[in-house]
Amino acid sequence: MSNYLLFIVLPYVSLVIFIIGSIYRYKSRGFSVSSISSQFLEGRRLFWGSQPFHWGLFVLFFGHLIAFLFPKAVLAWNGEPMRLLILEITAFAFGLSAFIGVILLVQRRLTNRRVQIVTSKMDVIVFLILLVQIISGLLVAYHNRWGSSWFASFLTPYIRSIFVFDPQIDAIASVNSWSLKIHVVSAFTLIAFIPFTRFMHFLVYPLDYLWRSYQQVVWNWNRKAIRTSRAHSFGKKSKNN
C-alpha cells in the first residue's frame, strides 16, 4: 500500500502540481519568479557555497537525465571497468561538491544576519529537501554500487513506466535499500515543491540569451503604420506589457 502511495500516487500528484503550478506562476505571477539572489547582501561566503553547489547539481542533473534517456549508451560506456570507475568517481565528486556547497549555504543562512532577514519559510523547506536529496544520493552511490549501471536497467524502466502511464513498481518496491527509496521519494517531493519555492528559478535559466541579439529595442506601437490612415491596423501588444 505504502509502495503504491510513494511510487505511483506521489509521482503523478507531484508532476501534475509541478506542471500546472509552474505554468500558472510563470503566466500570472511573473513578478514572483526570480532567483532572489542574496549575493547583494553577502557576497564572499556565497561564492564558496553557491559555486560548488550549483555546478555539482548541474552535472548531476544532466548525469541522471542522460542515464534516463540513453541507458544503452551508459551501459556501453561502463563495459570497461576503468571507464565505469572514472564515471562513478566523477559523479561522486560532484555529489560531494553539491553536499559541501549546500552545507556552506545553510551555514551562511543561519549565521549571517542580513541573509536571515531574506530567508522565508519556503527556503527552509528548500534546504531540507536538498539536504535529504543530496545525502541520500551520496549514500546510494556509496552503498549500492555501481549506480550508473543499475540505473539503466532498473530505474530507467520505472521512470519510463511512469511517463507512459503504465507504472511498474515491482522492481523499486522490492529493492532493499532505504537510501534509494528516500532518494526517489524526495526527488518527487522536490518536483512538487518547484512552483511554491525558489526552485522555480532553474526553469527560467536564460539559455535564450545565447542566441538573442545584445541590444533590445521595444516599440510600443508602429508609427509607420499609424502615420497613414490606410495602413491603420491593430498591432500586436508590445513585449513589455
Binding site: S28, R29, G30, F31, S32, V33, S34, S35, I36, S37, S38, Q39, F40, L41, E42, G43, L46, F47, S50, Q51, H54, W55, R113, R114, Q116, I117, V118, S120, M122, F196, T197, R198, M200, H201, V204, P206, D208, Y209, L210, R212, Y214, Q215, Q216, V217, V218, W219, N220, W221, N222, R223, K224, A225, I226, R227, F234, G235, K237, S238, K239, N240
Partner: protein, 496 residues
C-alpha cells in the same frame, strides 16, 4: 540611415549648488520602499571624490561598460559567455557595503526612555536587519570633500595626474570642488540591456528611455555589473533590479522628470535628439581620441531637410521633429559645443551631457602671502584650479583639448556679457576671446539667455507621447469602452 529620437539631457555644472533637492524628489517618488532605501537613482557627488557606490568609476574593480574589440565592442565584465559562467556567483557585483547600509533612528526611544541624568538618544538602526548599527557610510558621505584623505584623494580620475599635480590639487589655497549630479544616461549603446540574460531590460523605441521589465527580471544581477555608471540597482527585498525610469509617466503626460522639475539651480535641460541608429556600433568602437567627436556626430541636424524627410519615413512624428528643433540639448551639445558626455570611454554612448564647471582660478602663495589678484578680471582657463587633465578624465576620455575648448567658450560668453553689462573690459580682449572660439555676439547672448534666464518651457522641450494614438494601435477602443482600463496588476511582493 535609421533615424530614431532620443530624450537627452544636459546638466550645467556651473549652476549646480549641490542642494540634493533632485535626489530627494526622486527618492520620494520612486525609491522610498523596502529594499530600495539604499538606491539613489539620482545622486549628487562631490568631485574630486569617490562617489556612490564607492569608486564606481574604477572599472578594474567593477568591470562595467564596453571594451573596444577590433571593429566592435564587447562587454567588460558580462556578456553571453562571462554572464552565464558567473551566473551562480557574480565576482564583480558590488554589495550593499559598497553603497552603504541604509538606516533610520529609533525615535520612539526619545519618548519612552525612563527618566535619568542623561538626555535620551535616538540610536541608528539598520533598515535591512532592524538592529542597531554603527553608521560607517551614507549617501554623500564625502559631500563637499568631507574626509578628503579617504575620499577625494582616492578619486579614480586622479590616476591620470602626476603625483606633483595631485599634490597641488590638495593644497589648501588651491583646493576646489564641484558637484556632479548623476542619473541614468539612457545610453544609445546600453551595457545593462546587453548584459541582461533574461532580456528584461530594453530601450523604448519611441523615446529611448531604458527600462527594466519587472516581470521578466530574474535577479541574475548582470546589469548591475555591466552598467559602468552603476545606475542599475538590485532590490534585495523583491529580488529584482531597478533603475531610473526618467519619470516616463511624467514624460508621457508632458511633465519634466521630478529631478529636472525640482532642480533649484535650474541646471537641467531636457530635449529630443535625432540620431542615426545604424552608426551605434561603429561609433562605440571608435579609437579613444575620436570617441567624443564620433559620439557627438551621431546626433543629426533636425533642421536638415534630408534628415527631416528620413525621420518622417522612419515614422517619427512631426511633433517630435519639431521638439528636436527646439531642443535645448541640441543647442548646448551640437550648436554651442559646450556640453560633453561623462566618461565616454565606457563606450555606452550616454545621452546625458555636462557643461563642465568653470571654476575659480588659482591664487598664488609667495612668502606666506596669499595673493588672488590678477591683471585681468578673470584669469585664463590655464589657471583653472582643477587641472584640465582631471576634467578631461571625467568628460572627454582624456582629451584635454576638448575641455580647454569648452572652457574658452564659457569664458568668451562671460567676457562678452561683462562687456555688455559693465563695459570695464576692453573690446579687443573680448573680441579676441570670442573670435578664438568662433562665437559671435548673438550666440553669446543666446547662450547667456538659456543658461541663466531660461523659462521652464525653454529648459524642458518634451515631445508629445501621442498616447491617444498608441492606445488605438493596441486596442479597439470602442470594444473596450467601459472596461477597467489596464486591468489587474500584480503587487510587487517578494517571491517564495
Amino acid at each position: 540611415m535609421d533615424i530614431r529620437s532620443q530624450v537627452s539631457m544636459v546638466f550645467h555644472l556651473d549652476k549646480c549648488i549641490g542642494c540634493h533637492t533632485c535626489s530627494i524628489a526622486c527618492k520620494n517618488i520612486w525609491t522610498d520602499r523596502k529594499g530600495a532605501e539604499y538606491m539613489w537613482w539620482n545622486n549628487v557627488e562631490t568631485k574630486p571624490g569617490t562617489g556612490y557606490p564607492t569608486k564606481w568609476e574604477d572599472q578594474e574593480i567593477y568591470k562595467g561598460g564596453w571594451e573596444k574589440n577590433g571593429d566592435s565592442v564587447s562587454l567588460k565584465g558580462a556578456g553571453k559567455f562571462k554572464g552565464l559562467k558567473n551566473i551562480f556567483h557574480n565576482p564583480h557585483l558590488p554589495v550593499l557595503d559598497d553603497y552603504y547600509e541604509p538606516w533610520t533612528y529609533k525615535y520612539q526611544d526619545l519618548f519612552t526612555a525612563p527618566e535619568g541624568d542623561d538626555q535620551p538618544t535616538a540610536r541608528p538602526i539598520s533598515l535591512v536587519t532592524g538592529e542597531h548599527i554603527d553608521v560607517k557610510a551614507g549617501p554623500n558621505w564625502d559631500d563637499d570633500m568631507g574626509g578628503s584623505p579617504d575620499y577625494a584623494r582616492q578619486d579614480v580620475n586622479l590616476e591620470k595626474l602626476t603625483p606633483a599635480e595631485q599634490e597641488a590639487m590638495f593644497q589648501l589655497e588651491r583646493m576646489t570642488f564641484h558637484y556632479l549630479p548623476r542619473i541614468c544616461n539612457h545610453c544609445l549603446n546600453p551595457a545593462c540591456v546587453a548584459a541582461c540574460p533574461s532580456g528584461a531590460i530594453y530601450k523604448r523605441g519611441e523615446d529611448g528611455v531604458v527600462l527594466i521589465n519587472q516581470e521578466r527580471c530574474r535577479a541574475w544581477r548582470m546589469c548591475v555589473t555591466a552598467c559602468p555608471y552603476k545606475k542599475s540597482y538590485y532590490n534585495w527585498n523583491t529580488g529584482k533590479s531597478e533603475k531610473c525610469v526618467l519619470c516616463y509617466p511624467r514624460l508621457e503626460s508632458g511633465q519634466a522628470p521630478a529631478c529636472f522639475h525640482s532642480c533649484v539651480g535650474r541646471i537641467r535641460y531636457l530635449g529630443v535628439m535625432l540620431y542615426d541608429a545604424d552608426k551605434i556600433e561603429k561609433v562605440a568602437a571608435s579609437s579613444d581620441d575620436q570617441l567624443v567627436d564620433n559620439h557627438l556626430d551621431i546626433y543629426l541636424d533636425p533642421f536638415d531637410p534630408a534628415v527631416v524627410e528620413q525621420a518622417k519615413l522612419n515614422g517619427i512624428a512631426d511633433s517630435t521633429i519639431e521638439a528636436a528643433q527646439k531642443s535645448p540639448v541640441y543647442k548646448f551639445v551640437k550648436v554651442w559645443k559646450l556640453a560633453l558626455p561623462l566618461h565616454p570611454e565606457f563606450r555606452t554612448l550616454p545621452n546625458l551631457f555636462y557643461v563642465p564647471a568653470l571654476l575659480p582660478t588659482m591664487a598664488t602663495v609667495q612668502d606666506g602671502i596669499y595673493d588672488s589678484t590678477s591683471k585681468s578680471l578673470w584669469n585664463g582657463v590655464d589657471k583653472n584650479r582643477l587641472p584640465m587633465k582631471y576634467l578631461a578624465s571625467l568628460f572627454s576620455a582624456g582629451n584635454t583639448d576638448k575641455i580647454v575648448d569648452v572652457m574658452k567658450r564659457l569664458m568668451a560668453v562671460r567676457l562678452h556679457r561683462r562687456g555688455v553689462t559693465t563695459g570695464d573690459i576692453s573690446k579687443e580682449e573680448i573680441s579676441s576671446a570670442m573670435d578664438e572660439v568662433n562665437i559671435n555676439a548673438d550666440m553669446a547672448d543666446a547662450i547667456f539667455r538659456l543658461t541663466s534666464l531660461a523659462t521652464f518651457d525653454e529648459r524642458f522641450v518634451i515631445p508629445p507621447a501621442h498616447r491617444e494614438e498608441s492606445i488605438e494601435m493596441l486596442e479597439n477602443t470602442a470594444d473596450v469602452k467601459g472596461n477597467t482600463g489596464f486591468g489587474f496588476k500584480e503587487r510587487p511582493v517578494r517571491g517564495l
